[in-house]
Symmetry: D2
């Protein structure tokens, strides 16, 4: 049993903050068998990364990720950079014998994912993809209830992940809107979250059919951006990823499902929602009300049947008892703490992580099958990753 | 201008009650130019139909619909029987020079619908299909707001119509579960309502792709049924219609959409819901909260933006001012009164009805395109009815 | 057993419409032992009342209520006029041997109510006050669940009835804003509904303390009014009733409660809401979502506890099975049909009505106790009507 | 300008965790002019407090609060112990020249509060009471909107704070249920939060009238407790504080209000809710959906009026822009970070804190006025703290 797990994190923007916060918070509210040690943060801009290191309490910093992954004092490499960089980093980290924690989307395509999975398996290291919504207490509770057969055999599952930050055509370009840097638009960015939840709660997808669209094909060129506020530069640029994707699926267990991802649904900020109907009941969750799980049971007395709204902050609910008394809400960042806790425990006890690189690769396999279905105008089988 | 519109209604079950209630109520709350006169009700069981006539105030009854449609004192034939009978009745009524009001689904297939449309046009009579959800005040308000450009150019539209009365596998067979009597299951029964709303609010559909499923393929044989309670008979019978359908569409105006109809969504009694996202806002409605319309506008001040819940019971809202003061809710039956009022006015003023048989035929064209797409496993174009 | 109950209705405005609709609808959806016969409608304006009689199907009309109540062919006198007229009419009707159905508020003060009660008892006629919200299916369901001990011993009960039609200071005067015609403002008009629900669901009130206020003391003079739209006349007039009242109570069973009535709660159209907390659960209802009842039970498994939203449209719910299939909503007017049905059955079977004149008088006793508490600035005991 | 603000915290239970988390997190997401330095934590149990210090990153620990407050290297004393200890500690800290941050309820009675205020003023130190709900972004947004006159002149304000952890009579005794340690029950514990919000959003209270009750007067004796789970000991003990209080108020600005605090409202975990109705609109907020603010405006076009649900996570909303992108929810603990940030800035820039000891004392003055009104059975004036 290690007396500390040495972490090296690559990336110091949105995800860098979320992961740093998780590592420095996890052992305050939870009792990991082996506490994280925040050894090193890595980024290319030396001044920025050194400031980040100081602010967030990283013991050191690197400007080369190759250096970071080869350091002897690192046990776990955490990859929080854009998806186009994941494969190379993860493979190198695994080959250097490091456990790997990787942000989603796992990589740019299934081939990259398979290579990452092979490298991690060959090295015998732990590997996990950060699909953090699994670890919202209300979502974990849904999983537990499904496993306890509280809604019976699943028949329908509908997933939507609706955002609206691109509704305004004057919103300028950024890396998320270019195919070379982002791989895809809403389809991969939001779709990967939904597919992971579908795998978690319903099971494997057999086949898919769908459509995608870019409604606003040209945007003001990228200017300066600061935090959330973006300023347009001069001229315009072509948008090379989708704004929206919608698709249907047949699950391996016989259920039918639908998925929709968009950045143009006016009024929906982060509307990551599922509704699952089974032979004995239903479950509904939406990230915009993330602490609540809706549940319907056909087994209640007839006159009392109705969707109930469960506030998943009780000690009997997953993760919730480690924080505050019942009724005290959790937020987005808490889910990263839960992920890091589970990861540290899996490492400490030499258990498989979930979702691991196989799971993450399977998500990408579904995304690619949807793309094939769009190209062919017909149903496409989902490749199965073993 | 007639001094009364003589109505003959065929059918005296669920729809017979709803229509009778509408005809006897409409001139109490509204002021139709020509009041309806409840001339005759028609059904095959003489005792039952005569009792119904007396109870509901029909002046006479017939046991043969052929007799009814040929009576000189009938101006308007209202068809409230199962869909397999609509075409023959509607064509005969039109040929007899009667205006025709027809329950949905309009007919068993597009060919029947086309024949009905041709007959009605040839006879120069008014024709209307009763897609009553258009006339929920909140839905009519949505239409008015879309026409006033309050949500801009429509980009996404999702429609679901979820019911759960077949969730229990012990629920016995009835006519709705047999292909020969019902034509289809959830797909046509619920789908036709959604498609009509989509035509009303978004516009024509160009192409579709989908899937259907019958989850519970065998049910207890039909026993006696009394009102809503069904009793199983001996043995079992095969279910020959779908329980569930899901499909995607490309609208002619460039929007993308999704549709889902099911009778197995535990906890959803009559969850006929749409969400429409445009370039300037969004609209959401669900029949289970039928008096409310949700509206989001990107044109509100930034710090005030949010979905607002409009209680569509104000005098400035469609139909609502004819009933009660603001805040006094309407129910399912009020929508039939609105439909009958509009129909009577269209007849009195010799205006086109909406939705008419062309509109109803177009709904069936979409249903059939989805079926073709399911057979082929690929996208199918929607035939356009002119 | 009578073969028809002959009804005479006094008043043909808002309540005249609601009652007429109920009498002509009740035997369509329900099977009263003795059907109502709409014998006569009464109003002072002969042209208006004769038109109303014809429109709504009353066999005759009267312009003198004294004549109406003395007609031999009337069994039941229904009083739908403003409250200041109720006592005289009800007493005369009872003395003439007629059953009496009276709109709320029952009368202008407790003394009048007591006289009405004595007259009805002395005459041995049936007497009922139309607190129609008791007969919303969701509210009747709440009553049934309380009686079945589903929420245990009641501890807290909060009632609010919030409207907003007086928010705008330019809204002109009408009879509801004058003490001589209306008796009181929000306090009596809305308070009487809440108190009746409290009696129905919780039980008697022992003592009260409260406050009232008129925020807008002067309004444009009354002009012409047509339906819901009022036009101001010239000049202004003093408002002589309250806009708002709030008060606390101690129930006889040990529960504590609060009440609030207002016509100035911007955005609340008809927000008649209660929440009742018991030792084993809670119930919540609001008229703006009148078909839904919220229920929480401490007896569900711990991880599943949450407020559930019951759509009270099932055959197993009160009244609902007589209308439409599950999930088809009811509205405001349906509650009058339920009231009339129960009344007719009570008359036919010679059973006590509920709420009767004693119940209605007790409501007024509470309103008066609140007024006394306001005068004294301290708690006041509620007079008990036996 | 200091180059760091040295903090000493007294108390290491629930509030000790919440405050420690805030101090170690604030300079990660915000940029305080002077960062907090976590100098010392204080508690009586040396082993426990030393472990806490190590876990949470306090540089040192003390077992005597007197020692802590006299340390030269402490600038700010943070008091997170039960209310019975606040006055003595705060006065000593102020006299030692330390700024004082004090948990609510501020003290056991108004006399103590006044003494604390005098001591702080005499010493010229900063003083702040931690009514953290003011700093929920949605609540701060409500304040901003009220100040911008978006709802006009306030007329009604209703506050409820409903919890249910004492619903079960088998829940055993703890310090919160004894008068000597807790001062009061729901009345002070929850009431103080509501009163502070009322002061913040509406203004001063002039007079009050109310009632309180202890429904369950005897509970199992205290056993061992571990986190949220309490085990009963042998025998029973008398409960000496209230379970529930309800009261009315007249605000100085002419608005009328109501308040209710309880620990027995089955199903309400932390239902701290307000609704404020003004002459131009309304605002509604509830902690159980803490990220959302409901807003109604009479100034929207008539057909669009409705309560809108604003997700207060935008950069234009208070505090929210420092955390995550729009639509990423915050939780309970974030409110402590906001409080600590504001406090540090007030110290750094020598500005008054809010709410300060005067504000906290005024809250207690209201609680005491309610108690006096209960004793007298009549309205009581609220003493004004200058």
């Amino acid at each position: 049993m290690p007396d500390g797990t040495n972490v090296g994190l690559i990336g110091y923007k949105f995800m860098g903050k979320a992961h740093s916060h998780a590592f420095r918070t996890v052992d305050k509210f939870f009792d990991p068998t082996s506490k994280p040690v925040m050894k090193a943060i890595c980024g290319r801009d030396e001044q920025a990364v050194s400031e980040f290191a100081e602010r967030w309490g990283w013991e050191s910093y690197e400007t080369s990720w190759q250096t970071l992954v080869s350091r002897d004092d690192i046990d776990l490499v955490d990859i929080g950079t854009p998806g186009s960089t994941h494969a190379e980093m993860a493979i190198a980290a695994a080959q250097a014998g490091k456990h790997v924690f990787c942000e989603k989307p796992m990589a740019m395509n299934l081939a990259e994912c398979r290579a990452m999975l092979e490298a991690a398996r060959a090295a015998g290291v732990k590997h996990m993809v950060n699909h953090n919504y699994r670890r919202v207490p209300a979502v974990s509770l849904a999983k537990r209830m499904i496993e306890a057969d509280e809604i019976g055999e699943i028949r329908h599952a509908r997933f939507t992940y609706l955002q609206d930050w691109l509704t305004n055509p004057e919103f300028p370009m950024n890396w998320r809107l270019r195919k070379e840097s982002a791989g895809s638009g809403a389809h991969g960015d939001l779709g990967s979250h939904m597919i992971d939840l579908a795998h978690f709660l319903v099971g494997d997808l057999d086949s898919v059919v769908g459509q995608k669209k870019t409604y606003i094909t040209e945007r003001p060129a990228e200017g300066t951006s600061s935090g959330l506020t973006a300023t347009a530069g001069e001229g315009t640029e072509q948008v090379t990823v989708d704004d929206h994707s919608m698709w249907l699926t047949k699950f391996a267990n016989g259920a039918l499902g639908s998925f929709e991802a968009t950045r143009l649904a006016a009024g929906r900020r982060n509307f990551n929602r599922f509704e699952i109907n089974g032979s004995k009941g239903s479950l509904v969750w939406c990230f915009e009300d993330m602490n609540w799980l809706e549940f319907y049971s056909t087994e209640s007395p007839a006159h009392e049947q109705g969707f109930r709204r469960i506030l998943a902050t009780e000690e009997c609910h997953p993760y919730a008892g480690n924080w505050w008394p019942p009724g005290h809400l959790l937020g987005y960042d808490h889910t990263f703490v839960h992920a890091v806790y589970d990861l540290l425990e899996d490492i400490a006890h030499d258990r498989p992580c979930w979702p691991d690189f196989r799971d993450g690769a399977q998500v990408v396999a579904v995304l690619e099958a949807v793309n094939r279905s769009i190209d062919s105008g017909s149903w496409a089988d989902v490749e199965r990753v073993e």
